[in-house]
């Protein structure tokens, strides 16, 4: 049986020792009790002697390595013995003359990386890929891993943790909420600087305006307004927005609208709005650009099979986004009817919950107010939103002979979550959308 050489524990509180030097090399014959290496604890240097006579093999650590006590660091073989093929010493069994440094590379390590076993263990505990850890030495040490781990913690993360953990009594928290003084602006006088009710009450409430004499009607941020506020804040903060604008000639869209309205009128149906036509055309474009019709949820991008287009609808004191479900499967007239019904009931506050859920894309149209162009904030968890501007008749060059004509033009601005949607992906979508708006017959493809 191979006899293991064990890192000794000489002090009661000793957890590890550093190998100073090997007196014997891989493959050397050693006598019982002969010094084979020197190690150093925090207090003393000691010689480690051979626990048996034989051949020293399977050296797992080199000089400079820090090794936990009671760890096997090498083996002594009697003549005719070989090392068992255990995971810790698998590569040494056949040859006893290997370079100690490469021997130390144990099985879990990616072959290209040199790291001490302790570094490997610490990296595993910290969930850090060992190959990411930089080192100035031949091998990655535990210290390298720890330094790298510390560098991963950004200052922002640290500050979030600390502000999260303000010690305050429930009463102090309640009063802070009620009178609108953030706990972060209060210094606590309780045990361990805990904030107590009195501490909050002692803080003078900062005046919201330069002069407290100024008059204003105060509307509390509650209900729908609070919901909008939170949602927009979260979206703008979480999703890095990019915006791309394209201008389209809507001549043919307008004639299409006129014809659809003629048909609708003769069938006794309601009017077909420009928004309805755009919804239908956007649905067509979304079917061709699956990455625009997505949601980023946790660590996954959901490429939705359904095309559900929300239409931002202004209310008296807020906004709601009723959703046209399966917009890609509806005709122009069906889309128009659906939108007319949804927006009418939205203004009456009679929408069902399901009618504002499961949107995959949103359209916001401010054209009727004369807005040329604007950028909208994405409606989470969707990844993109289309802002539709007003139709303006303006002179444009219509051919390569520099002929100028007056055409009804409209701008479309796509805001997209850049984490999911690349600039080119957004551009291709807008370009296809512009094509179908300028050439609605593409729908027949």
């Amino acid at each position: 049986m191979p006899v293991p050489v064990i890192m000794p524990k000489v002090d009661m509180d000793q957890e590890k020792a550093t190998i100073i030097s090997w007196e014997k090399n891989e493959g050397d014959e050693v006598q019982y009790d002969e010094t084979i290496l020197t190690v150093e604890t925090e207090k003393v240097a000691i010689d480690v002697t051979a626990p048996a006579a034989g051949t020293l093999v399977g050296i797992l650590y080199k000089a400079g390595d820090v090794v936990p006590v009671a760890t096997e660091i090498a083996y002594i073989l009697k003549p005719g013995e070989t090392l068992p093929n255990t995971p810790t010493v698998q590569t040494q069994a056949s040859t006893t003359t290997q370079d100690p440094a490469s021997v130390a590379t144990k099985s879990p390590t990616p072959s290209a990386v040199q790291a001490s076993p302790l570094a490997l263990r610490v990296a595993e505990e910290l969930h850090i890929p060992i190959q990411d850890v930089p080192t100035k030495h031949q091998k990655i040490s535990k210290e390298d891993v720890e330094v790298y781990a510390a560098s991963l913690k950004s200052p922002e993360q640290n500050s979030i943790v600390s502000t999260d953990k303000i010690a305050a009594t429930p009463a102090a928290r309640r009063i802070s909420r009620e009178i609108g003084i953030p706990l972060s602006s209060v210094s606590g006088t309780g045990p361990s600087d805990r904030i107590q009710a009195g501490d909050v009450l002692r803080v003078e409430k900062p005046s919201p305006a330069p002069s407290i004499d100024r008059q204003a009607e105060i509307v509390p941020l509650v209900g729908m307004r609070a919901k909008i506020a939170n949602k927009m804040q979260a979206s703008f903060q979480d999703a890095p927005h990019i915006a791309e604008t394209i201008e389209v000639d809507v001549s043919r869209l307008e004639s299409l609208k006129a014809r659809l309205n003629d048909v609708a009128a003769s069938n006794g149906k309601g009017k077909v709005s420009l928004t309805a036509i755009i919804v239908k055309l956007v649905a067509w474009a979304l079917e061709r650009h699956p990455y625009i019709n997505t949601s980023l949820i946790d660590e996954n991008i959901y490429l939705w099979n359904e095309v559900n287009i929300g239409v931002a609808t202004a209310l008296e004191n807020g906004l709601i986004v009723p959703v046209v479900h399966g917009a890609n499967r509806l005709s122009f007239t069906e889309t128009a009817e659906k939108i007319n019904d949804l927006s009418q009931r939205a203004r009456q506050g009679r929408l069902e919950l399901t009618e504002v859920q499961r949107g995959t894309f949103t359209i916001s149209n401010l054209g009727m107010y004369g807005i040329n162009q604007f950028r909208a904030i994405i409606n989470p968890p969707e990844d993109a939103i289309l802002a539709v501007g007003t139709v303006t008749r303006k002179p444009i060059v219509i051919d390569d002979k520099d002929t100028i004509a007056v055409r009804p033009m409209m701008s479309l601005t796509l805001s997209a979550d850049h984490r999911v949607i690349d600039g080119v992906v957004a551009a291709k979508f807008l370009s296809d959308l512009a094509s179908v708006i300028e050439h609605p017959e593409l729908l027949l493809e």
């Binding site: 009594t169 429930p170 009463a171 102090a172 928290r173 309640r174 006088t189 309780g190 045990p191 107590q196 009710a197 009195g198």
Partner: protein, 328 residues
């Protein structure tokens, strides 16, 4: 209003109710000629005779078993357990029979019985005659648990207990027997589930029972001279518990201290704190809730150690000062 002792208040409740209702009888050890271990039934054998003051052998299970049977067939037994420690001998009769019959017979049977049990330390009676086991009884659904702290409460609550249709554990603290208080002559009852605010205050809510109410009151009066105003609430009945009064008091003071002589581990102070932390009073707490209780030890025979095992006035004073000062 005449001042009488706690013992006299209990005796007058027993006597008045036995005169009023001939179904009421008392059963227990040494309650006749001897007048009971603490003299509660002194003289009652002469008035009511041995058919209604029934002395038993030293067998607590027979006392409770007989009382349960009598109660079910329409009598109004009052069982006296000489020391509440011996209640442990009768847990099947109390917990499985008395407490459960009304429920298990679909309301067709009632068990109108009272178990009087002297509890608490302070008499040098050592570990088997000094315990405060109210928590044990609170944990058995079907039992009501009453712990009067004054002669007035003792009489009013005992009358309510005797007239209650199901079992009531009536715990009398031994050190309270000789204490005096004003008690009206004649009949009055105190409803269960109504706490009594023994002292109004603004700085700290103390919830306490039995002898500890008395100790807390004495400390509170002293501290009031320094401007520390403690509110003391005596739930009077731990089951049913008047949570509302405690919640409202904590909302007023923002601080809670529960004091009981019963041991700390799983003691009813934890129950009160749980009630508060899951109530609307939570948002008014301005310091950690605290409890001051008996230590988790058998009550020692040695007088010095016996004192040290349960909260004394100096402990209460120290704890109140610390909480009010914001030391926790």
């Amino acid at each position: 209003m005449p001042e009488i002792t706690y013992v006299e208040a209990i005796r007058s409740a027993l006597r008045e109710e036995m005169r009023r209702d001939e179904r009421v009888f008392i059963i227990g050890e040494d309650i006749g000629r001897y007048g009971g271990a603490f003299g509660v039934t002194t003289g009652m054998l002469d008035e009511f005779g041995d058919k209604r003051i029934i002395e038993t052998p030293i067998s607590e299970p027979s006392i409770i078993g007989a009382a349960v049977g009598a109660a079910v067939v329409g009598m109004r037994p009052i069982a006296e357990i000489m020391f509440m420690d011996f209640t442990l001998l009768t847990l099947d009769q109390i917990g499985n029979q008395a407490a459960k019959m009304h429920y298990m017979f679909g309301g067709k049977a009632t068990v109108p019985m009272v178990i009087r049990m002297p509890g608490g330390s302070g008499t040098g009676a050592a570990a088997q005659h000094s315990q405060s086991l109210e928590t044990l009884l609170m944990h058995l659904p079907g039992l009501k648990v009453v712990t009067p702290s004054t002669p007035y409460d003792a009489k009013g609550l005992l009358l309510t207990a005797i007239r209650d249709l199901n079992p009531v554990c009536f715990i009398e603290h031994k050190l309270l027997y000789k204490t005096k208080g004003e008690v009206p002559e004649g009949e009055y009852t105190i409803p269960f589930g109504v706490a009594d605010i023994k002292r109004d205050g603004t700085d700290l809510t103390i919830v306490s029972n039995g002898i500890m109410v008395r100790k807390a009151l004495a400390v509170a009066e002293r501290l009031a001279q320094e401007g520390i105003n403690v509110e003391i609430i005596d739930p009077r009945t731990l089951v049913p518990l008047d949570s509302e009064t405690i919640i409202n008091s904590v909302i007023k003071t923002g601080k809670l201290l529960v004091i009981h002589e019963a041991c700390e581990t799983a003691g009813w102070a934890g129950e009160i704190m749980a009630v508060i932390s899951s109530s609307r009073a939570f948002d008014y707490l301005d310091a950690p809730m605290r409890r001051l209780t008996g230590k988790n030890v058998p009550i020692p025979y040695n007088r010095v150690l016996e004192r040290a095992a349960v909260p004394q006035e100096e402990d209460i004073e120290r704890e109140i000062r610390a909480i009010v000062k914001g030391a926790y």
